[in-house]
């Protein structure tokens, strides 16, 4: 049997550089992706959720809301894209929370790796989930008859914009994940915040049909800007103002929640 531990006491390195930290981050990204692949439930949820939304909204509500399924799909798909990706950000918090409650995070923290790597790895790994969500929504939407009428470049910008927004939102999710007592808690609290945000917007219906007080909320809701920007980028229409506002919101959410999440994370460590 070979000796499993070396007898000489090594002299440990003094610190880990940025390159080391990035290497740690990529290893943990690899882990997240591997987990998506091996966890069938997660994978099914990720793939089926956008498909369900598309089928539901297009065929159940489409006729009533817009007088025709195809017409409604052209209107609602950008919204469903936003909805799928924003709900998917809850996964970040849930996975973080699971890592904490199962003790996996303790193991990471006992290793000589960059402090921020587990957090960064989780976020980066989730970007791959969000990309999957975007691809499924757009792909299945096009099977149902959605057509991108703007230029391909503009559509690509649309995908990028929703991903950037998700990157900001997932820090909010991470914060809940760090504070909640269980993954179920993350889900409940997340939905409590995200439901009014997502549905209190022009995501699925036009703002004009709502009562005044609700319109006031919808008009400042970041989801409204994001959806408007997505409509513009995918099917044509005004883009500049909603896109800039979406980016500003994303920046604001990031600036508030990323440092908070990092702070809570550090306090836990």
């Amino acid at each position: 049997m070979t000796a499993i531990a070396a007898p000489a006491v090594p002299v440990p390195a003094r610190r880990l550089g940025l390159r080391g930290g990035l290497r740690n981050t990529f290893t943990l990204t690899w882990r997240s992706v591997l987990k998506i692949r091996t966890n069938m439930e997660d994978l099914l949820g990720l793939l089926l959720q956008p498909i369900m939304y598309l089928l539901l909204f297009t065929y159940v509500f489409g006729g009533a809301l817009a007088g025709g399924t195809h017409k409604y799909l052209q209107f609602s798909l950008p919204g469903i894209l936003v909805l799928s990706v924003v709900f998917a950000t809850l996964g970040t918090g849930m996975m973080l929370n699971q890592d904490i409650t199962t003790g996996v995070f303790d193991r990471f923290r006992s290793l000589p790796i960059a402090r921020w790597a587990p957090l960064a790895g989780a976020v980066l790994g989730d970007m791959i989930r969000y990309m999957t969500s975007v691809a499924v929504t757009l792909g299945f939407g096009m099977i149902l008859g959605f057509r991108i009428t703007a230029s391909p470049l503009s559509a690509a910008a649309g995908c990028l914009l929703v991903l950037v927004f998700a990157l900001a939102m997932c820090w909010f999710s991470a914060l809940i994940g760090l504070l909640a007592k269980s993954p179920q808690g993350v889900q409940w609290f997340g939905f409590l915040v995200m439901f009014p945000l997502v549905f209190g917007s022009n995501l699925l219906v036009s703002t004009a049909t709502m009562p005044g007080w609700l319109q006031a909320f919808v008009k400042v809701n970041p989801m409204t800007y994001l959806t408007e920007a997505e409509r513009g980028l995918l099917t044509g229409g005004p883009v500049a103002t909603p896109a800039v506002r979406s980016l500003l919101w994303a920046l604001g959410i990031f600036v508030v929640f990323a440092p908070l999440a990092v702070r809570v994370y550090r306090r836990k460590t």
């Binding site: 499993i4 531990a5 440990p12 610190r15 690899w30 303790d106 006992s110 790597a117």
Partner: protein, 331 residues
Amino acid sequence: MRYDATSAPAIEATGLVKRFGKTTALAGVDLVARPGRVLGVLGPNGAGKTTAVRILATLLRPDGGRASVCGYDVLRNAYQVRQLIGLTGQYASVDDGLSGTNNLIMIGRLLGLPRAQARIRAAELLARFELSEAAGRTAKTYSGGMRRRLDLAASLVGRPRVLFLDEPTTGLDPNSRSDVWLMIRGLVADGVTVLLTTQYLDEADQLAHDIVVIDRGRVIATGTPDELKTRAGGQVLLVAPSDPARLPEAAALLEALAGAEVSTDAEAGTVSAPVTDKTLFPRVARELDDRGIELAEFTLRKPSLDEVFFAITGHRSDDEDTKTRELEETR
């Protein structure tokens, strides 16, 4: 700041204090682990064992006191400490969603091993811990004993100099427990320093060179296993007559022969006495036989942790105070 293996202790803690809200988990704990030896930290649930381990493994900041591993301060030189330690928690902290192999490859990669080497190291450890057959399955499908072994393997990927084992056998069946014991002995043979927390006196007795007994956040005794057992009154002879009616007779006989006070448990139908000399066992057996007292049980046993505790502290280890403390600690 080079570590000198001949003089410096592998682990040293002085006056560690930790509070969780109103509860004081550690009220000034001192301990020292000699290089290449096993230090057993013995105590009931909620005594503060896990808190102490978490501080020593750089997971928790102490509110007072100092601690170092191989001469590196756990607060100021946490990064260096982490390169020297391995940690296996009470609740196996393996990634359920990954296979055994990928769990270990991930740790190897995080420690900076190139991909091929991480793979080799993983296979090596899986073989050593008899997990090769299950290597490709997700850890979710593992039994409790297998998870514990994988957790132990994960803490060894980086060839640690100092290994923290927090109740490594709690909740394991006797077979898995002796497997884990065997593996710990193997590590010690390789020169690893081990800090082992346990609730079981026999486990500390089997594995530890030195023992620290913790109760309510304080060290209440230190010494070798033999020293501690002597303090607790050595071995105990337990007699249970088949016919409960003959218990008083057996008790009187035992008291006369042992020359010490016996304790009778009428409900269980047993009487026990501290063993003062080696000949007591055969003498008692002979006398009982002569009088025709048939026996349901006749055993020599080591004092339990409870008895060690009772002898040292004068109180039982499972009172209310300890229970609230345990809740705080596992929060």
